[in-house]
């Protein structure tokens, strides 16, 4: 479903600040797989999602999604195939629009409405029906501006929006990192439920090793722009966070310095 091959990304090329974020990255995510990505800060996790979504153009290499070579597609065109939830709750929703309008916007991703009214009875009903899943009472606040919602509510709405319409690929970049533990847990369980229900091909970046092993079907670890570890099936099922840490040490011959990873 997603096929990233031989992708290299350099930021600030030919300047003193030049840094290589991805080094000849190859990553294939088969149809329906739920992949979790882990790695220290600056390892290239977000950059790899940005390459898939079109925010970052690689120096070389190819990105194929759903059988189509999207390497040269702009973001808005890729959004017909790919949807995503950002880390910052403010990014996934538009605070000046109402909850309903945000929903309609997400709906337009795969079914643009052009000169027809953005909102009709069908969209209103669908939005209310989806929002009921959250059990937050948001289905009764359809005409409230999204800016009035809390971070957790907004992130839950972002997730619903990203899974509206016909896109089959979902990218999640530490989408629970900005939330308090209880809300984070709620949004994670919601993610699992929706991904399973819709059989989405998903890639989730997370800061927590426990989360990476607990959710999804496969886990990869990034380090300095490369994938240094890739596990699925029985091998993964038998893994503990401590095993991951040991692996990291062995492969890199260095201590893992990122405290946040250890605590996760």
């Amino acid at each position: 479903m997603i096929d990233v091959s031989d992708v290299r990304v350099t930021f600030n090329k030919s300047t003193p600040l030049e840094s290589v974020a991805l080094r000849e990255l190859d990553l294939v995510v088969p149809h329906g797989q739920f992949l979790t990505i882990i790695g220290s800060n600056g390892a290239g996790k977000s950059t790899s999602l940005n390459v898939i979504a079109g925010l970052v153009r690689p120096d070389c290499g190819k990105v194929v999604v759903g059988g189509q070579d999207v390497t040269d597609w702009p973001i808005h065109q890729r959004s017909r195939l790919i949807s995503r939830v950002f880390q910052d709750p403010k990014m996934g929703t538009c605070e000046d629009l109402t909850i309903l309008e945000n929903f309609a916007l997400a709906h337009g991703r795969t079914q643009p409405r052009g000169f027809r009214f953005a909102i009709d009875k069908g969209i209103r009903e669908r939005a209310a029906e989806r929002l009921k899943l959250l059990k937050l009472g948001l289905e009764n606040r359809l005409n409230d501006k999204v800016g009035l919602l809390s971070g957790g509510q907004r992130q839950a709405v972002s997730l619903l929006m990203a899974t509206t319409g016909e896109t089959r690929v979902l990218l999640l970049d530490e989408h629970t990192a900005a939330l308090d533990p209880k809300t984070a847990e709620f949004v994670m369980e919601l993610t699992r439920a929706i991904v399973t229900e819709l059989k989405l091909t998903s890639v989730m970046v997370t800061h927590s090793m426990a989360q990476a092993l607990h959710y999804g079907d496969r886990t990869v670890m990034f380090h300095r722009g490369r994938i240094i570890f890739d596990a699925e099936g029985d091998k993964r099922a038998a893994m503990q966070v401590s095993d991951l840490l040991a692996l990291f040490k062995r492969d890199q011959g260095e201590e893992l310095s990122d405290d946040a990873l250890l605590l996760g």
Binding site: H76, R84, F86, M91, E95, L97, A118
Partner: protein
């Protein structure tokens, strides 16, 4: 103020309502401070005047053509910004100074009188009621119709995409909105409205002038800021109404301050007074509420 003067002020206030709607689209919806209007207002005036006087066009298609020329001007500004990444303010300045030369070319000189020519206001002549009463009425109908069309547009799928593109470009793009295209369309629309205002102003005033664009940007902005800080703006329809109201209020404020002898103001002081008005309103808002800060950020 006589009735005649009063209705004259209403007429100009209505016409500048279109400028305010344009500023609403660029500053408030697209978050794109657009200076093109300084050139597209006289462009509309020049186009209408030349088509009516030199080419003998019927004033209605001439006025429509003027609006389309304005659309082109806004489109070019957005194109410079979207395609070549030129800073939005600079793009607008480049186009508006180019338009200054172009307008002189169009009119073959610095101005073009319309006295005695057929204008859109000729339509209300010979009804037995003085034209200074019927002209503002005609304008009010046209401007309210345009306001409602804009309200409707902003509620379509495309219009909502435009609002999202201005409010949160990254999120809009992630939801399939071609943000660059929305800027092209929005700036085109805003400058079409401004050029339309220029065309109507020239026909009302009796001449087109290459210098008549000076200060249009700040008048539009003042109207939006003042209108939206006085009236409630919870819905799109309320917001556009507030813009029209702001433009009218601004005209009356100008008329009164010029009429009030004790203030000792001259007609040439208008720009200064306008700038002060904008500053005072913005400062007042930012110290009053978070909403004011939001508006200020969006508008400055």
């Amino acid at each position: 103020m006589s009735l005649y003067e009063l209705l004259g002020t209403v007429e100009v206030g209505l016409i500048f309502g279109l400028v305010a709607l344009g500023a609403f689209i660029t500053f408030r919806i697209l978050d794109f401070p657009d200076l093109t209007v300084e050139g597209s207002f006289p462009l509309g005036a020049a186009m209408a005047a030349i088509l009516i006087v030199n080419f003998g066009w019927n004033p209605w298609p001439a006025t429509l053509a003027a609006a389309m020329a304005g659309f082109g001007a806004g489109f070019v500004t957005a194109f410079l910004n979207v395609r070549f990444n030129i800073l939005h303010i600079l793009s607008g300045i480049l186009v508006s100074i180019s338009l200054y030369s172009i307008n002189l070319r169009i009119m073959s000189g610095p101005n073009k009188p319309l006295l005695g020519a057929h204008t859109i206001f000729s339509a209300v002549q010979g009804w037995g009621i003085p034209t200074y009463i019927l002209s503002p009425l005609l304008l009010a109908i046209i401007i309210l119709a345009i306001k409602m069309l804009l309200d409707l547009f902003l509620h379509t799928g495309l219009g909502m995409n435009m609002r999202a593109a201005g409010a949160n470009p990254a999120m809009a793009a992630a939801n399939g909105v071609n943000v660059g295209r929305m800027k092209l369309l929005g700036l085109g629309m805003a400058n079409a409205l401004t050029a339309l205002a220029g065309a109507m102003f020239a026909q009302s005033f009796g001449a087109a002038d290459a210098y008549m664009g000076i200060g249009v940007i700040i008048i539009g902005l003042a109207s939006v800021i003042v209108g939206m800080s006085i009236l409630p703006v919870r819905t799109i329809a309320q917001a556009t109404l507030a813009c029209l109201f702001g433009a009218m209020l601004y005209r009356f404020a100008v008329a009164f301050s010029l009429n009030a002898d004790f203030l000792g103001l001259k007609a040439s002081d208008v720009q200064l007074v306008t700038a002060l008005l904008v500053v005072v309103t913005l400062v007042g808002q930012s110290s009053r509420s978070g909403m004011g800060k939001l508006l200020k950020r969006k508008l400055s």
